[in-house]
Each structure stands twice: as structure tokens, then as C-alpha cells.
Amino acid sequence: MRPKRRRLWAVVAGLGALGAAAALVLAAFEDNIVFFRSPSEVASNSLPTERRFRLGGLVETGSLRKAGDGVTVTFRVTDLAHAVPVSYRGLLPDLFREGQGVVAEGQLDANGIFQASQILAKHDETYMPREVAEALRKGGHWKGEGEGQ
């Protein structure tokens, strides 16, 4: 029985040490693991803004404008505390609309406008049929992603 006990404790201790090591590494690299930055982080000037980064948040309702050339759009990305103006020229994903989650990759220009080279749509974990979404909205119980469907 003794060698089995010993092996059992060796495995348990090994896993514990490994877990602790992994937790420390992940905590140390947290800044590099996050996929995008929030408008609040941009506002607090904690980012090296001369570098490219990803900006994530919601497309602010009422901020979406199409430029005269028909392919450039401007909008504001908000986390409901701060907002950053974004300009983008190109195709938008299907889910892109006001009120929707969005991740923009690009760089801040001299005027503080985020010049995006890629726009990705982010959606939340809610799934339901259209009729249910309509009914919930009408009842005022829920204000879902994407203002107009």
C-alpha cells in the first residue's frame, strides 16, 4: 500500500505546484492575454497610444455615420463610462450595428480618432427566437443587443 500512497501524493503535489505556477504566469501576463482595451483605459492614458491595439466596447447608439464616399463609416465605441471616436473604411461584419459589441483593431491618430483597419463583431451569450426577442422588448423587460434588428 505504501508505494501507491506515495505515488498518489506525488501526483497531487505535482498538480498543485503546476496549478500554482500556471496561475502566477497567467497573472503576470494578464496585460498580454486580454484581447482588447476598453475606452476607459484609453481615456486614462495608461496605454502606449503610438502603438496599434484593439479597442472593444459597444457601438454607441446614434453615433454611426456614413461618410460621403459610401465606404467610410465613423462611430463611437463606448463602455458606458467613456467613448472613443472610430473611423473605418471597408466591409463591416453582418452583426455590426448600433448597440452591438465590437472590437476594432488600429491606432489613435493625432486628433484622438481611432483609425481602424479591421472591425470584428462581438455577440453575447444570449440565444432566442426572433418572436421571443420582440416580445421581451415590447414588454420592456429586456434591452437586447442591437437596437434595430
Binding site: V11, F35, F36, D94, Y127, P129, G144
Partner: protein, 256 residues
């Protein structure tokens, strides 16, 4: 536990369980596919693209479940030296790799229309890719070491080291911001999927699991038979001349 570790008893019991596993897999996958692809409604914002979920989500669940199973079997094999546990872990690995690949591939096909990209290096996608490589490394390690006992021990240690990745995958969407959505079903506050879409998803999950059980049992049988052949060849090789008598046995490599 020990009673089931007897190979002869395992062969008997698993032969009886196998048709049931196939039946459950067939029924659940059949009804789940009809439910998911035909009966379930389109999503309010994703439309019909949401139907990829009925393959993607069960694949991803199985990718993690099979790894947990493999690691648990490896631990039992390592600590209590049950050959059957080693065999179970070895037999599960290619299945887990297959489920992981399916999750990655269907996720990519889903990401392109919804997110606007096939792939991003966010924490969820990257950690699942690491899981896929862990499976491949585990399989390669078994192939690289000839002695089954030594191979089992080395592979078991690799499997246990990789366990640290499982909570990272599960909680990556909560610990860091990612492009991937947070959990919709396995969350504390209850599912955020409407019941009309949830039941086909759960049926598919049952089907995937039953399929895994069925193929796992078959693969374990094959491995046990191969080991029996190997043992027979070794004893025969000791008593007779090695130039005859073995040509009728299947080649070792082919039966792997």
C-alpha cells in the same frame, strides 16, 4: 473499481454495453440533428448561422470532457498501476483530438460570418488550440516509446501536466476579455439559450457522449486483443523457431 479492472470482465461487460451505446448515439444524434437543423428557430440576431452551434458546442464540450477522462485514467494508471486504465487513456486520445479539431473547424466556419474573421488569438481560441496540440503530443509519445509500460507512464505524466489547461479554457472567457462569447449553458445563473434551441443542443451532447463511449469501448477491445497477440507471439517466439508460425498473425503496426 478493482472488479472492473479485470480485462476478461471488462471484455464481457463492455460487449454487452456496446449495442446500447450505439443505439443511444444513433437516436440522440438523429433527433438532435432534426431538432437543431430543422425544428429549432433561427436566432434573433445570428439568423440561421446559429445552427453551427449544434455541432460546435457539443464538440467543444467533448474536447474537454475526453481530456478530463484521459487525465483521470492516466492518474489511475500511474498511481494504482492498472493496465486497463492506461489502455482507456490511450484509446480516448485520438477521439479527443478529433472532437477538438471539430470544435476548432466549426468555430472557424462560424466566426467568419458572425465575427468577421476565421481566427483570432484570443484566450479561448488559443487555449483550445493548445489542447489540440496536447492531444497530438500525447499520441506521439505513445508511438515513440516501444515498451507499453514505459510509454503509459510517460504519456500519463504529459496528460496530467496538460490538465492545467482545462480550467484555463473554461474560464478564459471570464478571466480575460475575449472575442469569444462567455458560456451560455454551463453557467451559475442558468442557461441563456431559449428552450427551443436548448433541447436539440442537449440531445446532440448526449449523442456525442454515447458515440464516444461506443468508439472508446471498441478501441479498448482492439488494444486488449493486440496486447494478447503480442503476448502470444512473445511466448511462441521463446519456444519455437521464429522463422515460421507467425506469418498468419496480423502485423503489429497494422493492428494499432
Amino acid at each position: 473499481m478493482h472488479r472492473f479492472a479485470n480485462p476478461a470482465r471488462f471484455a464481457r461487460l463492455s460487449a454487452r454495453a456496446l449495442p446500447w451505446a450505439w443505439a443511444v448515439a444513433g437516436l440522440a444524434l438523429g433527433s438532435g440533428l432534426v431538432g437543431g437543423l430543422l425544428l429549432a428557430p433561427a436566432d434573433y440576431q445570428q439568423g440561421d448561422s446559429v445552427r453551427i452551434m449544434f455541432v460546435h458546442v457539443p464538440s467543444a464540450w467533448m474536447a474537454m470532457f475526453v481530456y478530463a477522462f484521459m487525465a483521470a485514467a492516466s492518474a489511475v494508471g500511474l498511481i494504482w498501476r492498472h493496465a486497463l486504465a492506461d489502455i482507456a487513456a490511450k484509446a480516448a486520445a485520438p477521439l479527443g483530438a478529433g472532437f477538438t479539431f471539430a470544435a476548432l473547424a466549426t468555430g472557424s466556419l462560424w466566426g467568419q460570418p458572425m465575427w468577421g474573421t476565421w481566427w483570432v488569438w484570443d484566450a479561448r481560441l488559443t487555449s483550445v488550440l493548445v489542447l489540440f496540440f496536447l492531444y497530438l503530443g500525447y499520441i506521439a509519445l505513445w508511438q515513440a516509446i516501444e515498451d507499453p509500460g514505459k510509454a503509459a507512464r510517460a504519456a500519463a505524466i504529459l496528460a496530467l501536466v496538460g490538465v492545467v489547461n482545462l480550467p484555463i479554457i473554461k474560464f478564459s472567457v471570464d478571466w480575460w476579455n475575449t472575442l469569444h462569447q462567455p458560456a451560455s449553458v454551463l453557467r451559475l445563473a442558468g442557461p441563456t439559450i431559449h428552450s427551443s434551441m436548448l433541447w436539440p443542443l442537449l440531445l446532440m451532447a448526449v449523442g456525442f457522449k454515447a458515440y464516444f463511449v461506443a468508439v472508446l469501448l471498441l478501441r479498448m477491445h482492439a488494444e486488449l486483443n493486440w496486447r494478447r497477440i503480442r503476448a502470444l507471439r512473445l511466448t511462441a517466439g521463446e519456444s519455437t523457431d521464429s522463422s515460421h508460425g507467425f506469418a498468419t498473425l496480423p502485423a503489429e503496426r497494422a493492428s494499432l
